[in-house]
Amino acid sequence: MLFAVDIVSFADWFKEAANWAFLIIAVPTLLSAWRTVSSSNIVRAVLYLVVSLAGTAALFLMLGAAFVGWTVVLVYIGAVIILFLIGIMITRAPLGMESDLSHGRDVKTPAALLAVVLFAVITWAVVDAFGASMILPFEPTSTSDLANILFDRFVIPFEIVSFVLLAALIGSITLARKDDGGESE
């Protein structure tokens, strides 16, 4: 037998309303993720990334992780995408169709093969391990619980992350500054 555990039957799976909501979120997420890596228009590729990340945020909301979901919306869709668009505009990539964004078929075929094999292996492993394991009914994670844990048990990693962000801020300003204007001091 291919799998060690029982797999939930498709008929039962489609009876649950939450699974339809899951499909409505997951299918656009994956389609736009595919367009992100395959689109030949650089601005479109980044805008498809917005849809994909919004889909993951919706999945987080579905799992009751409201704070994480809205953080994804604020940080990724609000800030990181803007950084990407600024990066595109500064590097003056042509805004129309462009054939030079990806490698040719000689790289794409093995890459697709590798990606499919990786996906198949991960899928086989998780189905083999978790098969029909259901996510039991759960309470949505309250933001105050999350805050208590973050500032109690995880306070040192939190401070380290804030230093990393500070270092990244200073580093990117230093890197991106124009030096050709002479010394200012």
């Binding site: 987080f60 990724y76 590798l114 801020l169 580093g171």
Partner: protein
């Protein structure tokens, strides 16, 4: 809801990000593909957090850390791409062949 459906979405996002990292030549789109991989990892983290009903919510906390690190990574990455573009007039990673590997 089964947990497997979320894990499969995470695996698909990760695999597509890997495909993008290998095939893309433009440095900005390469970073975007890395973001897709991180999004796939985040879906896994939150799904397992809910599945295991973790009292410490480690999965969600680490997802927050991943988001913060990813934001820092993109900031630095765009700054480096900008600097490379100034020096070489190109954002194509294939043209960065100074080391002649």
């Amino acid at each position: 809801m089964t947990i497997v459906q979320f894990l499969i979405v995470g695996a698909a996002l990760f695999s597509m990000g890997l495909y993008g990292v290998i095939t893309r030549k433009n440095a900005v789109l390469l970073l975007a593909s890395v973001e897709l991989m991180l999004a796939g990892v985040n879906v896994n983290m939150v799904a397992f957090d809910v599945y295991l009903t973790d009292q410490l919510h480690s999965g969600q906390i680490f997802t927050l850390f991943i988001i913060a690190i990813a934001a820092a990574e993109v900031g630095i990455g765009i700054a480096i791409i900008l600097m490379i573009f100034r020096n070489r007039q190109s954002a194509d990673v294939d043209e960065l062949n100074l080391m002649k590997g």
